[in-house]
Every structure is written in C-alpha cells, then in structure tokens.
Amino acid sequence: MNWKFWSLKKSLFVYHVNAGACNNCDIEILELLTPAYDVERFGIILVGSPRHADVLLVTGVCTRQVKKRLQELYLQTAKPCVVMCIGACALAQGIFAEAYHVGPCVDEVIREVDPNAIIAYVPGCPPKPEAMIMAVVKTWQKLDELAAAEPKPVAPALPEVAGA
C-alpha cells in the first residue's frame, strides 16, 4: 500500500467526469490547464481514459442515468484512486437536491462500490481555480499522512552476482 501512495502523489493523472453539471465547474477545470493557471507545472495532466487516472474529478449532481456509469468508471480506475467532488452540486446536490431526476450524492454513489474510497470535497459554485489548486495541495498532504501511517518501503535485496 505504501508504495502505491508514494507513487500515486508524484504526478496526478486526472480524468474528468461530468455527472450532470452545468459546465461552470467544467470550464473552470479547463481554465486550470490553460496558460492562466497552468497546473501541468505540477505534473497534473488530463487523460482520456479512467484506466490511466489517479484522480477522478467529478462535477455535477449525479443524475439517475449517470449513477451506474459513474460507479463503473470508478471501478475501472487503478486503486488507490482519489475522487474529487468539485462544486456545490457534487458535494451535496446544491440547488438540485429536490429535483426528480437526481440520484444519491456523489460520495454515497462511490462508497456503495468502495466503502474505503478516498474522497476530497471542493466547495463553491463554481469553485475558483485557486480553490481547486488548494484542494490538490491538501490532497497531497493527506496522501503523505496515509503513506506515513504505513511501514517505510524497503527495496528488495538484489541477488549477488558471481564475479561482479
């Protein structure tokens, strides 16, 4: 587990899931990647497949149609995987809490398939790009704590080669 946390936080590959958002959070996420904020400086890069992802960026209320697909996406990612709920809708459904086509909260949907999932919350409607960078920093710190709780990694002993 320790090796996994240690390697996970080196360069975060993120996959963006729009689970029924209004695009506000989505354009702010794109804003992060373009010259104004440019998070690729920190090794954070968007990838095209959940199988390559360390982080799922979930925006929007989880609609009933999306629920099963979001769980499927989470199961496809390599574990450990951090789920970041971005925006008021992903946190607690925001203004859409009473609407008829809205499923459970995003964290409940993820916990249904993995009770030990690592979930980070970024509030705001939409969160400012600075807030999202702050969330990544805090996630990094949390991953450090998780890694420190585990025993230190020990490099496997190399076999002795005769005549070397």
């Binding site: 695009n23 989505d26 373009t34």
Partner: protein
C-alpha cells in the same frame, strides 16, 4: 460535400461515442454507423444531464428562479435568467430603468466574448491544434476577471433581477471594463488572422460538414449556426431588448455553411460584442437600476434573448401566487444538435468531431512550452512576437507549397472592411 463511399462490402459498423469520452466535455451518447470511413447514419441519446429544472422551477419563488436557471448552462449563465426575466417583466408590464438596460447589455456581451473565444479554443483542440486552444483561453482570461470584478463571480453572474439589476456596476469600474475589452481586441485580431490564414485549418474546415441554407431553415437552427448558413436571424436585431437597439452593431452572416464559416461568424461577432460593450459603457446614463416590482399578477408571457449559441426561449405562466405554475425552457443547442443529421452524414469519421464542435464544447489538452531556445544564437530566449513570426513564416511556406494566394490578397481587404 464529399461523396458517400459504398464502404467495404456495404457493411455497416456501429461506433459508440460516449457517454463519457475524452473529447467532449458533457455526457452525451452518439451512435455513428459507418461504412468504411464514411458516416452513413447517426443517432443521439441524451438525458445523462437531465435534472428536471422546469419542474423544480415551479417550486421556487419568482425571485429564486433566476438563480436556478443560471445553472441550466454555465456558459450562457447571463442569458437564461434574462430570458426568464423578460417573460416575467412582460407579465408585470413594468418598464426597466435605462441604466439597468445598459448594464445588462454589458454583461451579456462580455459573456458572448468569453463564450466565443472559448469555442474557438475548443475547436482548435478538436483539430489537434492546441496552440489555438491555449491562445484563445489565455485571451479570454481578462474578460473573466472583469466579470468577476463587476458581478462578483467568474461564471454565474446573478446580475439581472425582475425589474432591473441586482447590483449596480459603479461608474468607477467602467474604465476597467473598457481596458479589459481593449486588451482583448488585439489578440483576437491576431487569432482571427491566424485562423483565416492557415492552410492546415483551411484543409480541415473548408467544405467540411456543410449545412446548406435549405437545411438550416428545415432544421430551424439558430444563432451562429444559422448565420453561418446565410440565415440572418438574431434576436438582438429582430426583437431588440435591453440596449441593443440603442447601440450600433452588425449581424455577421456568411453563406457557405461549413465549419470555417461558423468559425468566421464567431470570431467576427467577438469584435461586434467588444464594440457593443464599449458603446454601452460610453452611453450608460446615471439613475435608478431597479423598477421595484412587488408582485407578479396572473398571466403568461414568453421571453427570448440571443445567447452565444442562439435563441434562448422561456415561457412563464403565473396564477398570481409566489411561484410560476409553468416554466418552459428551450435552449439553442436543443435545436442546433439535430442538424448533425444534415451536416455529419456523408462525412469522414475524422471530420465528424469538428462538425460536432460547431455546437458542443469539449475538454482535455496538452500544454506547450511558451519559451524556447533559439537554435541560431544558442542561448537567447524567444518571446511571443518572435514565435508568432516563425508561425507566419511556416504559413508562407505552406502557401508556397500548396500554391495558394497569400493571405493578404485573399482575406485582407475583406477583413479590414468587416472590422471597420
């Protein structure tokens, strides 16, 4: 239009695109039937993003609904509330104070600038031309900042309310608005030249996914999609609201109907929007910003405004209570998306992505280095101007190789005429 090939043994293959995929930002599920490389049929499944806003709106008070409909679409977040508010104002029969009208115009047009630049960037990204993506998004940043300064939020502005505006934009900030849009003009002009000039973009955009004039009318498309097919409709001119009949601007139309025409319409509309913002700032009178509407009488009305993507249409019915009893929304993409069947069928699979980009945004990108070492002098760093000159040199080289006339002869005078 390219010819439809018969495919391999006339066999059809289904290519599912979505609902979660690397190209498009939102969950939509396209089914493309292809024969060989050619798309022969397509279908669209939606409802991944359906939240039930119309029903939810009947449980909110009249003053809460603008906050809700702002979240129909984050990129058109000033036009949806405005359409709703126009409908309610018609029911109330109230007159909006002139200062509020000008301020609403400013915010909607600033939004149009940032939305069109966003589209140009995403279109570039769809083509694998990430330089355009990075440039366009960099140049829209001052607009986002000024919107935050005058309304309090980068997206979802919440500036309009029934009978006026929620927060008055103080006169001291008007200079900042002019400075922000001025800083946008030069880069947008450079971007327009680069897009119209580039032989690679010409190869990817001209005569691709053409929506003919007849099809545009048959599918009832709106906004830049219609104007790029030679249908000169624009709510701002046809049914003027706010201050659009008090300022001087032009409706941009092109007859071609291909993706290049859509790009040209959007880029040139950005300049029109900058002109409108500057005139609105110049002419904005002092005075009240709120008509003080107390209650909404029974009645029904429609309100429509020109969103960056086309006509946004809201219908509201009131029974004299606290909440609307019926609220119907028709967003522009709802009518623009079905036109894919006219524009995409018969195209190559590779061209379908950019044909869809004409209405739909997407995400994901690759960052490029902005500073490089000059190979000749060894250690000198190159600035943006030198890099741009290098790009122009490359374009000239392409033009020579392909035997095309230089840009200045093809486009220069026409562009100057349009910008004048």
């Amino acid at each position: 239009m390219r010819s439809v090939s018969k495919g391999v043994n006339g066999k059809r293959t289904l290519i599912p695109v979505g609902p979660f995929h690397p190209l498009q930002e939102e969950p939509e599920f396209f089914q493309l039937w292809v024969e060989g490389e050619t798309v022969v049929d397509m279908d669209l499944r939606i409802s991944y993003n359906h939240r039930g806003i119309e029903e939810l709106s009947t449980r909110k008070t009249f003053d809460q609904v603008p906050y809700l409909v702002e979240r129909v679409c984050g990129i058109c977040s000033s036009t949806h509330p405005l359409a709703y508010i126009r409908a309610v104002e018609t029911i109330c029969g109230c007159e909006v104070p002139p200062r509020a009208k000008y301020q609403r115009t400013m915010v909607t047009e600033l939004e149009r600038i940032h939305s069109h630049l966003l589209w140009v960037g995403l279109a570039g990204h769809f083509l694998g031309y990430n330089t355009v993506f990075m440039w366009a998004w960099k140049y829209r940043e001052p607009i986002m900042e000024i919107l935050e300064k005058i309304t309090g939020n980068r997206c979802a502005y919440a500036n309009a309310k029934i009978g006026g505006v929620r927060r008055d934009i103080p006169n001291e900030l008007f200079d900042d608005i002019v400075r922000a849009v001025d800083s946008c003009w030069g880069p947008t002009e450079m971007l327009t030249n680069a897009v119209l000039d580039d032989p690679v973009l010409h190869a990817r955009l001209v005569d691709v996914a053409t929506l003919t004039h007849e099809d545009a009318i048959r599918y009832c498309v709106t906004g830049p999609t219609a104007r790029a097919s030679g249908v000169p409709i624009d709510v701002r001119r046809d049914d003027p609201y706010d201050a659009f009949d008090l300022v001087d601007w032009d409706v941009i139309t092109f007859p071609e109907g291909d993706v290049m025409a859509k790009a040209k319409v959007r880029l040139l509309e950005t300049f029109e929007a900058i002109k409108i913002v500057k005139q609105a700032v110049r002419d904005c009178p002092n005075g009240e910003t709120d008509a003080g509407v107390e209650e909404v009488p029974p009645g029904e009305a429609i309100g429509h405004v020109e969103a960056p993507r086309g006509e946004t249409f809201h219908y509201v019915r009131s029974d004299g209570g606290r909440c609307p009893v019926r609220h119907k929304i028709r967003a522009p993409s709802y009518v623009n998306v079905p036109s894919f069947r006219a524009s995409c069928i018969g195209q190559h699979v590779a061209d379908v992505t950019i044909a869809m980009a004409a209405v739909d945004p997407c995400y994901s990108c690759t960052e490029r280095m902005a500073v490089t070492k000059d190979s000749k002098t060894g250690n000198e760093l190159m600035d943006a101007k030198e890099l741009q000159e290098l790009s122009v040199q490359r374009t000239r080289w392409f033009e020579k190789q392909l035997g095309i006339e230089p840009f200045d002869k093809r486009w220069g005078p026409k562009l100057q005429e349009l910008l004048a």
